[in-house]
Amino acid sequence: MQEGSLFANYEVNETIYDEMFYDNGNVREHCRRLFKALDGFSPAEIASMQERAERSFLHEGITFAVYGEEGAQERIIPIDFLPRIISAREWAFLEQGLKQRLAALNLFLADIYSACKILSDGVIPTDLVLGCPQYRIQMRGVQSPHGSYVSICGTDMIRTNEGFMVLEDNLRVPSGVSYMLANRQAVKTSLRDIYRKHRVHPIETYGELLRETLAEMAPPGVTDPCIVLMTPGVYNSAFYEHMFLAREMGVELVQGNDMLVHNGIVYMRTTSGLRKVDVIYRRIDDDFIDPLVFREDSILGVPGLFHAHQLGNVTIANAPGTGVADDKSIYTYVPDMVRYYLSEDPILANVETYLCRNREDLEFTLDNLDKLVVKVVGGSGGYGMLVGPHATSSERDAYAKEMRKDPANYIAQPTLALSCSPCLTDDGAAPRHVDLRTFVLQGSTTRLPPGAFCRVALKEGSLVVNSSQGGGGKDMWVLAK
């Protein structure tokens, strides 16, 4: 590595998997072309491209809101300009595993809202499922077209020295896909020659794939469905994404008060009168969908909407009640679901997880708080999480006190050495921890757009990649061969 070049100060940590380098500092085969091309830039050149992209994100309003931050309503997710590369072979493995996993999760949802065989067969503790706050009793007996309760699944994956692992499944309203596309657009524009030479799988048709998937979810007999995207409104943290996806799909973006239900049929108001709605891609939590069934104080929902869904006159995607399958306790059992429903061995491994509802696991967790990551079962976005090794002893004590009050509300996982990928810093490229969120779509067929929102912990040593906690994003290139 030449002095003054981008990688001049790059130090490979031998104990952590590096996405670009082997332990000995040699560049991985599938990254060699990229390394060579990037090393021709100075850090200042890359920084300038990055700044330009971030400015354009701000102008284009590619932003998200952080709740509770006054005056910071619109923030961009910082982009790191050095792409992460996944080889064609690695992606083929992930694709197989992710499709298998979603198939099992959908079979699980179909089962627990009908015969509950997996519970009666003792594969998963009944109380864990039926006692889960995300289990919606109202969904009992409600069938989903093609058995697809989860049409859009956001699966977070990490890589360690042991290989890829699933960190969590997001089965309710997974977000991040718009940033995946925005990052691609920005990097492709600035590094166009490099991008071109890499034969990267395109991801720009995501909107089209999503629309096809949602069209397949239309109630039986509807050939040209009216699809809408339901948003809580402009103040939602992911509003940019809602708008973006509606635009990419060419469908209406609606709020609850734009729709009404009459005789079990959902209509939306248009400037030409009322129009029947067939499929609702909801980006709103279960609780707020319908005040007659869920939270009665919801002003975001549509009275009677759930009844229309029950009757099969409209499809809500993802279906209400899918959150039970992404609960952090139930996550532990996904490999068992794969074996139970598909009679296959799970392709993708889970992260080892301790369920604090079990006495032994709780004791182990409390004894090893300084080594573990502890999460609230129903939490998301990195909130309510304790990263043991980075916490002070008083923070750990306070957390342990809370855990003892309600052990079932917590799970613990070992502090994993998430893989690192080169990121731009003030000293040139340096390793930073990354994960990736893939987006799997399931209607009558399953589709996996060849890309992911690669999240990066921008602070040195940090393992927290969540955008709400200071994380950023980077483009991820899936090579065609």
Partner: protein, 316 residues
């Protein structure tokens, strides 16, 4: 969105013209002009009018500083230029899925630029240039909308918002001018040229009129000349065009009433100017009629196309 943008554009022209006047016009005229501006916007300054000592230029400048701030940046003034652009952006945000990326980026950039500026920066630099630049930015935005938007209901409602606003603004400005009592004939003519300038009509007026420019002739030109893009009649014709487009598939009574009402307004506006360019009847009263009808038109459109009673569609 376009309604707020039209208003912001109009304020930018009012203020650009005013700052041109500040450079060389007598203090009394500038004071008068501020009154006209506020009357044209149908508002009063938060602090009330600061009656200036006409012999004291510094005093006058202090007033102008405060008043320009109020119309440009004041948070509590819903009609301030910054609030108009912020509101336009909020509206655009809600319909971004039908608004092109280019339109959004231009609007957002205008908003972000304006967010960073205070009246002090404007005052100490070139105020007139600042307002002209803002106006140019907004018109560029309208140009991109015109060049890129699909001509569906979204486009036509944007047109309706813009031109209903224009009718109201031009009527209010001309009406405000009628109410100004200038003491000297020279000022009187100058005042009317101010109005022409705000309506981007100075050049066109000079080209089509000869002889004495009686105020009525100028008023008639601004109301009835359909070739002038800032005339009332021009705006009404575009309103009619868009109403015809959005009502194509729904010919129920409310909609037909609205369309008929606009046709009446066009006739009314057209009738103001006689063939020799002079006016017929009480121009001020006609203007007030059109202004009242335009205000009502906004509500009627809202009721007919957005906040309608769904029962009629459900056959209840």
């Amino acid at each position: 969105m376009s309604r707020y943008l039209e208003r912001a554009d109009y304020i930018s022209r009012l203020l650009a013209t005013q700052f041109e006047a500040i450079e060389d016009r007598p203090v009394s005229e500038i004071d008068q002009s501020w009154r006209r501006i506020f009357a044209a916007l149908n508002s009063t300054p938060t602090s009330g009018f600061l009656y200036s000592d006409f012999d004291d230029d510094d005093f006058m400048l202090t007033d102008s500083y405060t008043l320009a701030d109020e119309l440009t940046f004041e948070k509590t003034n819903s009609n301030s230029m910054r609030n108009c652009i912020e509101n336009a952006r909020e509206n655009a945000r809600q319909v971004r899925f039908v608004v092109g990326k280019q339109i959004w980026s231009l609007l957002n950039a205008t908003y972000l630029d304006l967010k960073e500026v205070e009246i002090e920066n404007v005052w100490n630099d070139e105020p007139r240039r600042f307002y002209l630049d803002i106006g140019s930015g907004i018109r560029r935005l309208f140009g991109v909308m015109h060049g890129t938007m699909y001509r569906d209901h979204g486009w036509h409602f944007a047109q309706l918002g813009r031109y209903v606003e224009r009718v109201q603004l031009v009527c209010s400005l001309v009406q405000a001018q009628f109410e100004i009592k200038s003491s000297r004939k020279q000022d009187f003519v100058q005042d009317w040229y101010f109005v022409l300038q705000v309506c981007e009509a100075g050049l066109a007026f000079r080209r089509v009129r000869s002889g004495a420019h009686y105020p009525d002739k100028i008023a008639a030109f601004l109301i009835s000349d359909a070739r002038l893009s800032h005339s009332v009649e021009y705006a009404l014709l575009l309103i009619k065009q868009s109403l015809d487009a959005v009502s194509e598939d729904q010919r129920h009574a409310t909609v037909l009433e609205i369309n008929d009402g606009v046709e009446q307004l066009i006739k009314q506006a057209d009738g103001v100017m006689l063939s020799d360019g002079s006016t017929s009847g009480d121009v001020s009263a006609t203007l007030q009629d059109i202004l009242d009808s335009a205000r009502q038109l906004s509500n009627d459109i809202d009721q007919a196309y957005f906040n309608y009673d769904v029962a009629s569609y459900l056959g209840a």
